[in-house]
């Protein structure tokens, strides 16, 4: 594999994405909402007042996740900590997923939509190099965006909760595992989804809508956590990430098999 070719294709795709307003604003809007807007909103709810003990209802199951140091906090504070540190944390995976899917849609479908694909097929790049360049173009910014957003989210959460909790407690080890271990796996999922979707659709917007459905998976994950069905403790997260990487390998290989010059050209 010629890495110069792969890198050139990925870089070129990212240059193009930068000029796609819909893509950029979706990514920025999503990032702002999830890592700044949402924690601010929840942190500013008047949880600090309220009784010091009581039943947390459906959130009771999540209580086990709180480090022992935080178990003694008043109910309202525990609620904020729980929401920001645990319940909403999986939502954060929407960022790598969506960035990968948006960039992937742009790079796989956009090139078809703008009729530049044929020129690319006439280059010496092998099918695998073309594919790798495009997977990289989706995955790298998704992982970077995920890490950046996670850092911002952590700062915002600590700013809001440190006064209530009395210490800087976030990120917890499982939140860190979520970002560092599960995040990239989800990014790859977004990329491979957009590759598969690109074989079915003709425009960037269609592709974007279809891959958007994937975020439902994440919402399901969150609901699972909220109802106590799926506790995202460290071992669960590590295992979950491993399964995702397995799925990624399968999907990426499937995409590579589909991504052949002859197929792309015969359809073009």
């Amino acid at each position: 594999m010629n890495w110069r070719t792969v890198r050139a294709i990925a870089t070129k795709d990212l240059l193009e994405v930068r000029k796609n307003r819909i893509a950029i604003w979706s990514i920025l809007g999503l990032s702002f909402f999830l890592s700044i807007g949402m924690p601010l909103l929840i942190g500013l709810l008047p949880f600090g007042s309220g009784p010091s003990s009581g039943d947390l209802g459906p959130f009771e199951a999540l209580m086990h996740l709180l480090p022992s140091g935080l178990q003694g906090l008043p109910l309202g504070s525990r609620m904020v900590v729980l929401m920001l540190g645990y319940f909403l944390a999986p939502l954060f995976l929407i960022i790598p997923l969506m960035v990968a899917a948006i960039v992937g849609a742009e790079s796989f479908v956009g090139e078809k939509e703008r009729h530049t694909l044929e020129g690319l097929l006439y280059t010496p790049a092998t099918d695998l190099e073309l594919y790798a360049g495009k997977v990289l173009a989706g995955a790298v910014p998704a992982v970077i965006a995920a890490f950046l957003n996670f850092a911002i989210y952590a700062v915002v959460v600590d700013l809001i909760t440190a006064p209530i909790v009395g210490s800087v407690w976030f990120p917890t080890i499982s939140a860190l595992a979520l970002a560092v271990w599960v995040g990239p796996a989800v990014a790859l999922l977004g990329v491979s989804a957009s590759v598969l979707v690109s074989t079915r659709v003709e425009t960037f917007l269609e592709a974007n809508q279809l891959t958007g459905l994937l975020s439902l998976v994440i919402v399901a994950l969150m609901v699972g956590q909220g109802s106590g069905l799926l506790l995202l403790s460290l071992p669960v997260l590590l295992f979950f990430g491993l399964v995702l990487y397995g799925v990624d390998v399968v999907l990426i290989r499937l995409g590579a098999a589909i991504f052949s010059r002859d197929r792309l050209m015969a359809r073009a």
Binding site: E118, G119, A125, T126, D262
Partner: protein, 310 residues
Amino acid sequence: MTMAIAADGLIRSFGTVRAVDGVSFEVGEGEVFGLLGPNGAGKTTLIRLLAGVLTPDAGSARVLGLDPTIDGSAVRSRCGVLTETPAVYERLTARQNLSFAADVFGVPVPDVGARVGDLLARFSLQDRADEPVAGFSKGMKQRLALARALIHDPELLFLDEPTAGLDPVASRQVHDLVGTLRDEGRTVVLCTHHLVEAEALCDRVGVLAKGKLIALGTVRELSDRLLAASPVVLSFLGPVADAVAAAVGAVPGVAVTEREERRLLLAAADDGAAADAIGAAVRAGGRVVSAGRREHTLEEVYFALQEVPA
């Protein structure tokens, strides 16, 4: 002569359509070869097969000594292609477009800057090199696409209808470029349905119709094979008198095929008969200002070919 291209029985279908149907031909190194044919004849598909972008259903090809189905990457690294609808990256600048191509075509890293600069200058794009291509005119985009096709100094060029939709000045520039490419010793395959263009530029042409190569040769060979001897045209100073026309028509081996106000078109059996006809016209009082054979145009050859059952 070494062959740049040797195609042998290439076949490629899409669904039930046989886009290329058993095409065999050769193109010598340094030759400018024209691929002629109406829309849908299979010209573009043939280029795709030769560049290893499509795989043939049957048949084989050698391009620059390599099999494109096996060594497609190597073949493409030595070929430049101007596609039929040349799409450059509109959101990128001209320079970014060329640098990207240079990277993907493996231009040595230290040479990229100079090579890109040279091509921008050669195609008169240097003044707007750092502007997004979206704002360029069609002609400028075409020049950029041509520059891109040349970025890696290819031995073989495929130009797919390079002047379609261009104004006469831009077309002339493309024609001049083909001449330059020939002088530089490159092999050029030129797809066109522009007959005058093919006639002016190509050493040999192949005519495709419904995926089949129905004729192959120089324009002269094709016209000799397909059409009767070219007409002799006699032009007169004034209107052609009946007596003159009659005298010419009476020469053995000569028939007047068309009579215009000041011209006679003759079918002459041979050059001797043509010379006799000119003499007869003068003796009958005709004031001949010019006389000569008119060569068949490729256009006439082309239409004659469409009438030959495939």
